[in-house]
Symmetry: C2
Subunit: 342 residues, 2 copies
């Protein structure tokens, strides 16, 4: 069905001639085509809610970069909004929630499950349009934030270096925290089921602030919810877990049994392989800053990275591509992988 299905073949555990490649935030400011669309609008949230434009920016990196998968342009914070906690995106500053969660009553008042998920019809509409426009050239990935990362924003109300207020919520109101994580989990499962229904071929869960916790706290407040999400979706599509900075919980993350684990550039492949064995599918992990360097350095570093994973590997960065990355550096990176042979 899908012309270039190398990404899905690797997720199924098959051996391929080279690793597939896509980039987190590939649909974004690195592309002049994206910036043109973005400048015609009042804001990021307007773009997220415009299915035709979402489809356009989702497909741009497939045309321009030749990546092996598209990822639906969206935002992890649509789930808190659908649960009843609206947000704004302030230019140069990031997300901002005018209202935040303070106690268990605030959590009880939130919607969850299908009620919340069904409010995001603009996302499902965008998937249908994108699948049609992609015309089966490459698979389409859908994504969601992990429950803990969404809790961080819903309690803290904005980005933070430490998320100390969100973590304070875990330590001082564990009952409210578990109820919130449960409700986010249910909304996320319903949301991703709708996304799969609409046509996505795989899903990725982003636990962006995983690295702010320790092993025991991650086991208590994160692993069980990731397990539920993975269990609910794995029968239908491959699931990739990207828990940034959670090297200390790799054993438990591997134990969840998802299709693949994303890793960041701190976490060396040989360390991960010592925990997961050689056949777990891993995704990552070039430092996005390498793409600022000259092309010979990009090529050399990329090839060394591919070799260090030893197969069962989807190439990506260890973080979203930075907006000021030179486009020709990104192209040199993608080209290196597409011409590589194991």
């Amino acid at each position: 069905m899908i012309e270039n299905d190398i990404f899905l073949r690797v997720l199924r555990g098959e051996a391929t001639e080279r690793p597939p490649v896509w980039l987190m935030r590939q649909a974004g400011r690195i592309l002049p085509q994206y910036r043109a669309v973005r400048e015609s609008l009042s804001g990021f949230v307007e773009l997220v809610k415009s299915p035709e434009l979402v489809s356009e920016v989702t497909i741009q990196p497939v045309d321009e970069l030749g990546v092996d998968a598209a990822i639906l342009f969206s935002d992890i914070l649509v789930i808190p909004e659908a649960m009843g906690l609206p947000y704004e995106l302030i230019e140069q500053k990031g997300p901002y929630f005018p209202r935040t969660l303070k106690n268990i009553e605030d959590v009880i008042a939130l919607d969850s499950g299908k009620i919340a998920a069904d409010r995001l019809s603009y996302v499902y509409e965008a998937i249908k349009i994108t699948k049609k426009n992609l015309a089966n050239r490459v698979p389409l990935i859908g994504f969601a934030g992990a429950p803990f990362t969404l809790l961080c924003y819903m309690v803290e109300g904005k980005g933070s270096k430490t998320f100390s207020q969100a973590k304070k919520f875990l330590y001082t109101q564990p009952e409210a925290a578990h109820l919130l994580l449960d409700k986010i989990t249910e909304a996320t499962i319903a949301y991703l089921h709708n996304k799969i229904e609409a046509g996505v071929d795989a899903v990725q869960i982003f636990d962006s602030w995983a690295g702010s916790l320790d092993h025991e706290t991650y086991n208590t407040f994160c692993i069980p919810y990731l397990q539920r999400i993975s269990d609910a979706l794995m029968p239908k599509v491959p699931v990739i877990l990207f828990c940034k900075g959670a090297w200390f919980s790799l054993k438990e993350l591997h134990g969840i049994g998802s299709s693949a684990l994303g890793i960041d550039w701190n976490t060396e492949p040989h360390f991960v392989r010592s925990i997961t064995g050689p056949s777990k599918v891993l995704q990552g992990n070039l430092d996005p800053c390498v793409l600022y360097a000259d092309h010979s350095f990009i090529r050399k570093t990329t090839i060394e990275m591919i070799q260090s994973f030893g197969g069962h590997h989807i190439v990506n960065l260890g973080h979203g591509v930075y907006p000021d990355t030179p486009l020709d550096g990104v192209k040199a990176f993608v080209e290196t992988i597409k011409t590589y042979r194991y």
Copy 2:
């Protein structure tokens, strides 16, 4: 000489009846006495440059909390300023450098070594006053930023979640980066020699942004400079290296041979011990957010932490104490350690 020298005894490798304790940022906003001093001044930088007041706030946590060491109240960014790159501290936002380093010419223009270090006479004056006022009750720690962390601020110009511009400097101008790291190293060694001369009993190096790099990059741009600093100072006083997030380079950090390694709460003692062996002195590593919790949880978590280190351990948090931490939570933490017996 020093009445309570348990901190220095552990740094010398001796077995003690309990671990010593101090907290990063113990001289700060958690103490009402500090807030009173701070409110009488126009800004943080004014406080840093007032030796009598520095002495006062440095000793406050010894009186109020009963910690086993004082740490001279100061700022890692006095070194960039002494090298010719002034900064401001903007309330609620953090450090800001009006001028940043763009290329090797900017680096060549900086001062270094004794010329830079001798400009910081207000620090040495503060040490002399503090040592006199402390009257040998506990040891006094002096500190400095690690060369890479100072480079981050000097290139990026302000705090950042990614320090992508600073890292871009490493990847695109490695020669300028090494020259800068060399000059910072020389200024830092001269500065810490002056501090030791003025009376500090131990020094700690903070590599706050270590975790933004990968293993190979850390080996290239950080380890050699930390080695030089440690080698220059170890004959005179104990040296503690706290390279936050650099779990991937623990083997090399251990290899430097400093008196102790600080670790954060991501990094479990049994993991560190598997690299360093049982007799390396380790410092850390409670998540500062635990101090928001109720006292029974603080006590339980602190005791479990002490037991997991298995001796040769200085208790601290895995990060500076957060300004809104309840004072009675901090006191419960310190009390737990001071009444603990191995």
